[in-house]
Amino acid sequence: MTTETLIWLVPLPPLLVFFLILLFTRRNNALSHTLGVGAAFLSWLIGMLVFLAAIGVEHLGEHPFTSSVGWLPTGAEVFPVGVLIDPLSAVTLFFVAWTVLMIFIYSIGYHNFGQPKGEHDVPGLPPHGATQHGHAVPSVEPMYARFFAFIALFAFGMYTLVISDNLLTLFVGWEIMGLCSYLLIGFWYAKPSARDAAIKAFITTRVGDVFMLLGIVALYAATGTLNFRQILYNPALLEQLASTPSVIAGLSVAGLIGLLLFIGTVGKSAQWPLHVWLPDAMEGPTPVSAMIHAATMVSAGVYMVLRMFPLLSAGWHHGGELTSTMTMMAFIGAFTALFAATIALTQKDIKRVLAYSTISQLGYMIAALGIGAYVAAAFHLVTHAFFKALLFLGSGSVIHGMEHGVLHTGEHVDAQDMFNMGGLKNKMPITFWTFVIGGFALSGFPLITAGFWSKDEILADAFGNGHLLVFLTLAVAALLTAFYTMRQITLTFLGEPRTKAAAHASESVPSMTAPLVVLAVFAIAAGWVGIPEHFPGLGGLLPSWFHEFVGGTLVEHPEAVAFNIIPLLVSLGVALGGLALGWLVYRKAGQLDPLRKPLGAIYALLENKYYFDEIYDAVFVRPAQRLAEGFSYLFIDRQVIDGFLHRVARGAFSLGSIFRNYFDAPVVNGFGDFTASVTQSFGRMLRKVQTGQVQQYLLFVALLAFGGLFYYLLNALQ
């Protein structure tokens, strides 16, 4: 079996399992999760085989694995779709396969497989716990099998996106993931907040998606193809696209397409201003959050712009002026990174902090790409997937532990509020240590965490290429990141338990903690494949494999930025400084956030996410509803158009009435009636002849007879 055939097989197991579970095994939890995990494992296995084959190829970027088949007959040709594994998709496949598998395994324990069914549990709501031997214990999720079906479809979507060789099937995977995020965020659909969050996610990303569709269509129309190799590895074509003006003044065709595609990423990767759906998406079960916000969906947005980088940067040369799309990306990415980090400072919910952190980190990647740091962005994408998935799964473990405590003590506290936690490090050691590793990786703790290497590289690139504003913004965001991460760790795990539930928390089951450990290994080690060559001391010890490999994706291998001590020092400073500050401020925190009073009104602004949700509601949502019902339907259709039709009908009606009342009735009808009445009056007159008296009749007879006789005789005599 060739590698190309294997590539085609990667997304299939989860797709099959999706149908199998929904059609056949939905009532059997064990069978369903076996199928689910089995499918994830199979895809992982095939993915690893493909990856191993890929890294063995010299200069994979120049001859990647490809295979395609004709799909849509259009015009004279057939539009082909196929698979492509080049360095970028190979590393993406790697992290997707691992994180997806870990999430599948984790879901078994998360949804309490093996636990009894809760007495009051209904499908559509999260399980409330069951009573076993007089104790309150966690209960199994009522819609257990359905969950595995949906995450299987989700995995299918992501795999399809990663292995695609063209934008169309990438978009197919993109949208299928959008559907799955809708289905999974709204997994507990009976909760109004979950239902609304699901719709919000779908609709917000759809804004991005419709622009992206236009971009895809524009690209197809301009070049006649959507195949990556044919477009992105054709410098002449890119040159032409970059120099042809488009319908929008000031933008070249490449710029317009790039912009449209980028808006898709803004939606999918929750960048400002389309970021509002991601925090609400925390309504979904935690494995979903891990899947959507780390492993797959938001990464897809970044993956797409990484993939389309040659187009977005068409016309840009290293060290030169950024194209318009790149400028926009740098701006939005950096802004979002800082913006989201500020909000994360004030969030109480353990998952929400991570949500905003994701938005912020994605901003990093986008900003990196915006300034042309291709490899750095890809690197951060990979490391972020690992440590963010780790953090989300870890938070899920924490929540589970807290819920256990809640059930045990009967105390009704929000199990997700960090200010109800504390001291969990002793109760949940594995979770604690893995979470710390993940959190340090996120903060960029030097040398031993993957996040350091990738983040440092971005900062170095920004500084080294002179994009100082971006550098500064990202550095401040890094400081805040370390701060709120330590805040999170301190509030959750350190100090004393703030509630009875926290005091009675317990470690999660192995199916949940094992994935944490695996991911923690990656969170530490993944960075070591990308140590820059010029790094003092360590550079050169391990080959900078990542740069070599992923850099080979582009036609021109990007140059590594020259080493500069300043960004390194800044990076170290913000990471360590932020962590230390976070610990100092929060180590004695009680139920109230110590920052609340000092920051005052600013704290309220940040806590309410700069009121963007409220603004969007007032500016977009409500007017749209009014526009839809009031204007389009009631006014235009009912009043204007139907009103016109009714007026025409009424006119016809009146015309008919006039004809009836003024012509038909008097003239035509009248004439008929007149004739009849004349005949009738004659008849009335004439009938008087019939008296019924025989003698009278005889008299008439006699008169007529004799009269006739005499008349005849007289005539004959003449």
Partner: protein
């Protein structure tokens, strides 16, 4: 010989009397009697013409006998009808038997 015209005058006179009876009498039986008179007048006419014009043929006599028979039958039926009407309406006044009017 008595001239033919005398018989004809007689028949005409009888016919006129009969016609008057039919048209002017109230009693239905009297009307029937008038009809009888008219029939007899006709008979006299037939016989007179026969005797004076074609005495050798039998047709005149035969016809007169037929008229007798018809008259008898007709009177029988007529009287039966009158009796029936009388039983129903307790009257034989012709003016009162006028149901078939407008």
């Amino acid at each position: 010989m008595i001239p033919l015209s005398w018989y004809l005058y007689l028949a005409a006179g009888l016919f006129g009397l009969g016609l008057y009876g039919v048209l002017a009498r109230k009693n239905a039986i009297a009307i029937l009697m008038g009809v009888e008179l008219m029939l007899n007048a006709v008979n006299i006419n037939i016989v007179a013409f026969w005797r004076y014009l074609t005495p050798q043929n039998m047709s005149g006599q035969a016809f007169a006998v037929m008229v007798f028979a018809v008259a008898a039958a007709e009177v029988a039926v007529g009287l039966a009808l009158v009796i029936s009407i009388y039983r129903r309406r307790k009257t034989v006044d012709a003016d009162e038997i006028n149901l078939m009017k407008w």
